[in-house]
């Protein structure tokens, strides 16, 4: 008997026809499998390649989004930071201006970042602002005389007390070293007086009427003359303004007339000044409109102060027994007017001189309280 295993072995051997066909089948199967594997591998490779590329595209997109987000954040933070700095600067400037107003006769030089400060004073509107930002600060009652714009990295602040004859208000003058004040000498001593009054730190010059004024690259030239008109001004018209002063009293600390001109020597308007502080206000303001608006604020204050002193004089006249003192208080009451305007400069000045005289009379040997 033949062994079954042996029989199978013989049948499956490559020499047996059956075996041969089996081998061929296996080979065919193997070949098919290899082909399938190859195709599968190829497909997988493609899928991996595509997947990797998609991966990178996805990373780029997300990266771009994150980058754009940070750029937007940076830009908004920069804008906010600038606004914050502007607000802080304006608030600090307001505090410094208000507190330096209280120290009469003081001159301060303030260092700033390079900015342009604009000043506006019109009917019912009065403010100062940083031109680089839209940040403004209203100052409806602060008496500040300044050019329309001050550019630079420093600011001069000068404060003087306006007296008529008692203290009424603190006038604040703002300027910087980029603005030049040219005072033209005159036949009287008014120009020299004005030149000596202006602080040494500001950029000023005192020249004769035929001396030339040339452009030295300042932001603005303010030409002040009394009786002699300057003839040799060679500065750019856009950067120049003129002020003609006519003094009616015996010195510049009295009253008089003012006329403002632009660079083309066209008249911008006429007005008056009352006391030296008011004249200095006209010197530091470039336009008649600004000067007039600021003087209105000063007169609002004058009317209130006059009411207080009027009331005080009235109380004193009722409480004091001494008849000579009573007369002085009563005449003071009449001299103190409470609804005043700049056009009444002459009357106000004369009344102020009278009140000063009455006060001096009270000081001399009379045992009565002073008017002021």
């Amino acid at each position: 008997m033949i062994d079954t295993n042996n029989k199978n072995q013989i049948q499956n051997s490559c020499f047996h026809p059956k075996g041969q066909s089996l081998i061929f089948g296996i080979n065919k199967k193997r070949h098919t499998l290899n082909l399938k594997n190859k195709i599968l591998r190829f497909l997988l490779m493609k899928k991996a390649q595509i997947a990797i590329q998609f991966n990178w595209i996805f990373i780029f997109i997300v990266g771009a989004i994150i980058l754009a987000f940070f750029l937007v954040v940076i830009k908004s933070q920069t804008t906010e930071s600038n606004a914050e700095v502007a607000a802080e600067l304006i608030n600090n400037l307001e505090t410094i201006i208000k507190t330096s107003q209280q120290s009469k006769g003081s001159f301060k030089s303030l260092s700033l970042p390079t900015v342009t400060i604009g000043f506006t004073c019109e009917e019912d509107i009065s403010f100062f602002e940083l031109k680089e930002s839209s940040y403004k600060k209203d100052n409806p009652f602060d008496i500040i005389f300044a050019p329309e714009e001050i550019s630079g990295n420093n600011l001069f602040m000068w404060s003087l007390e306006w007296k008529l004859p008692y203290p009424v208000a603190h006038f604040q003058y703002l300027t910087n070293n980029r603005i030049k004040y040219v005072i033209i000498d005159d036949t009287s001593s008014f120009a020299e007086e004005l030149n000596k009054t202006l602080p040494k730190n500001i950029t000023k010059s005192f020249i004769s009427s035929n001396e030339a004024v040339v452009d030295q690259n300042y932001d603005h030239y303010r030409i002040i003359y009394f009786d002699t008109k300057p003839t040799n001004i060679n500065t750019p018209e856009k950067k120049t303004s003129y002020l003609n002063v006519t003094v009616s009293g015996t010195n510049i600390d009295s009253y008089g007339e003012l006329e403002f001109f632009n660079g083309n020597k066209d008249s911008l308007g006429k007005n008056k000044f009352l006391k030296l502080e008011s004249l200095l206000g006209a010197v530091f303001s470039n336009t008649e409109e600004f000067y007039n608006c600021t003087m209105k604020k000063a007169f609002e204050r004058l009317n209130i102060i006059n009411s207080v002193h009027n009331n005080r004089a009235n109380n004193l006249s009722q409480s004091q027994i001494d008849s000579t003192c009573k007369i002085l208080y009563l005449t003071t009451e009449q001299a103190i007017l409470t609804t005043l305007e700049l056009k009444d400069a002459h009357t106000i000045y004369i009344n102020a001189q009278d009140i000063k005289k009455y006060n001096e009379d009270l000081m001399r040997g009379k045992n009565c309280p002073l008017i002021y």
């Binding site: 991996a48 994150i66 209280q102």
Partner: protein, 169 residues
């Protein structure tokens, strides 16, 4: 199969990294905004203090109430007759129907607050004058007390007093 798994895991990694980055950015923004709001609160406090200093300087140097002897002003001295006069002017101005000019003027200077003068006599009597007061008082307020001498020109006497400046926040 293994390669497919590997690609999927790699994509998963990218997702995870991006999510973590986004979470970190959000946490960073929250942290930054907290710090910024603290900074703003401190600045607000600083500006409040600055405005108090400003007000104290202005009120203390008002020519309307300061004593003066001719051209010489007496520091830390307030004239009693001037106080009475100014109080009357501001009160009548703030009353309904009155010319509001003076009240608006002082409201611009003093803002929301109260300016009061308290006289303390030698016998302990206390007299008070409210120079200025806004209607909308507030419990949240800053107050500065400044000692002054109060001069009465009618009797030529001086007494001790306090200038009390209150600003409502």
């Amino acid at each position: 199969m293994i390669k497919r798994k590997k690609a999927q895991v790699q994509m998963g990694e990218s997702f995870a990294i991006i999510i973590i980055v986004i979470i970190m950015i959000v946490l960073g923004l929250i942290f930054y905004s907290k710090i910024k709001s603290e900074d703003i609160s401190k600045k607000e406090l600083l500006f409040d203090e600055l405005s108090m200093v400003e007000l104290a300087q202005i009120a203390g140097a008002l020519p309307e109430i300061h004593c003066s002897s001719a051209d010489v002003s007496d520091s830390n001295c307030i004239d009693l007759l001037k106080i009475n006069a100014l109080e009357e002017i501001i009160t009548s101005s703030s009353a309904s129907g009155g010319d509001k000019t003076a009240f608006y003027y002082y409201r611009e200077i003093f803002g929301r607050g109260k300016i009061m003068i308290r006289e303390i006599g030698l016998d302990g009597t206390i007299n008070e004058w409210i120079l200025y007061k806004t209607d909308n008082e507030s419990l949240s307020q800053n107050t500065i007390f400044s000692p002054v001498s109060i001069y009465n020109p009618s009797t030529n006497t001086k007494s001790f007093g306090m200038l009390i400046i209150t600003k409502y926040t």
